[in-house]
């Protein structure tokens, strides 16, 4: 709460969002406590909550937990949804009215979810009317603290597109080829982030 309303340490810089995460196939008691605490802060400040899901699991359950604790679905974004291309998993998450982020674009090769199968799923989601709840990002890391990720040479091609220009250089053209409109793209990259922060 203090980091949102007063600032982080003595910097005067206030946190613009809260991030919480859960484990693979479970939300532990400790993680649940963090989710509930985040909701308490959101209720008082309106700050958005974004999440980490592990290995493409617990997206719907995270949404359910946050909302049942009193969180505002308009201010919740379930993260790393790109780690699971099962359309039922995606829809079960959207059902709760939250935002969902395909936010590991370019990194799926390492996460075991190659993008060849991902683009058609994204296009399908938009055809089903979920463009107004979808966001795209990369989870890119500009600089690593401590030793950086040290990938073997053979693994480098898997992350060849893991950079913050991937969305603009490759993803948007792929989506447009699949029939996604300019208006839908604008909704995803501009309108949805605005609405998440505005709570609309």
């Amino acid at each position: 709460m203090r980091e949102v309303t007063v600032g982080i340490r003595d910097t005067g810089i206030k946190a613009g969002g809260i991030k919480v995460g859960s484990s693979k196939d479970t939300i532990t008691r400790y993680e649940k406590l963090m989710f509930e605490t985040a909701v308490r802060v959101q209720k008082e400040t309106g700050v958005p909550i974004i999440t980490h899901t592990q290995k493409g699991t617990m997206g719907p359950q995270q949404a359910e937990l946050l909302i049942s604790a009193g969180g505002d679905p308009n201010r919740i974004q379930i993260g790393h949804m790109s780690d699971n291309t099962d359309i039922d998993y995606q829809e079960a998450t959207f059902k709760h009215g939250v935002y969902a982020a395909w936010d590991r674009m370019g990194l799926q090769g390492l996460a075991g979810c190659p993008m060849d199968s991902g683009y058609p799923v994204m296009v399908e989601l938009m055809k089903k009317g979920h463009a107004s709840r979808l966001m795209i990002s990369h989870d890119f890391i500009i600089t690593w603290l401590g030793r950086p990720l040290n990938l073997p040479e053979a693994a480098l091609p898997l992350v060849a597109n893991w950079h913050p220009g991937h969305l603009f250089e490759n993803i948007i053209p792929e989506l447009k080829q699949g029939g996604v409109t300019d208006e839908q793209i604008d909704t995803i990259i501009r309108e949805n982030p605005r609405r998440l922060f505005a709570g609309a």
Binding site: I142, N150, P164
Partner: protein, 129 residues
């Protein structure tokens, strides 16, 4: 309408524009601070990398986000991190009979001579420059 707490202070959601929701300017796994002998904190590097990358992103025209001035070169960024000594702990294992030269090569990922003449902190990120 709720204000957005940006690093430079409160702004209106309408001022956001095109937004990447989940990126890291700086990231470390818990315990990174115990790794200072091998990968010391380099504030200048962190700031330079961040400014270069974020400046580059800001050149993407809002009217046509697909028209990047030139291709992004993340590969250069990832490769630059490989100038670090590679996992010295794991690579220090050498079976009996291994020559000193070979042990050093395993430890550093390159020859002892190359290691001695190289700047240990000579790492930079050309990403976005």
């Amino acid at each position: 309408m709720t204000a957005v707490n940006s690093v430079l202070g409160a702004i209106a959601p309408d001022e956001l524009g095109i937004t990447l929701m989940h990126e890291h300017i700086l990231y470390g796994y818990p315990g990174w601070e115990g790794d200072q002998s091998i990968a010391p904190l380099d504030r200048g590097l962190i700031v330079n990398n961040a400014v270069a990358t974020l400046t580059r992103l800001k050149t993407i025209p809002a009217s046509n986000p697909m028209s990047m001035p030139r291709p992004w070169t993340a590969a250069a960024c990832l490769n630059s991190t490989r100038r670090f000594p590679k996992n010295p702990v794991f690579k220090s294992y050498a079976p009996p009979g291994t020559t000193t030269k070979e042990k050093e090569r395993r430890r550093t990922g390159r020859s002892a001579a190359a290691w001695a003449t190289s700047g240990r902190n000579a790492r930079s990120c050309s990403c976005g420059k």
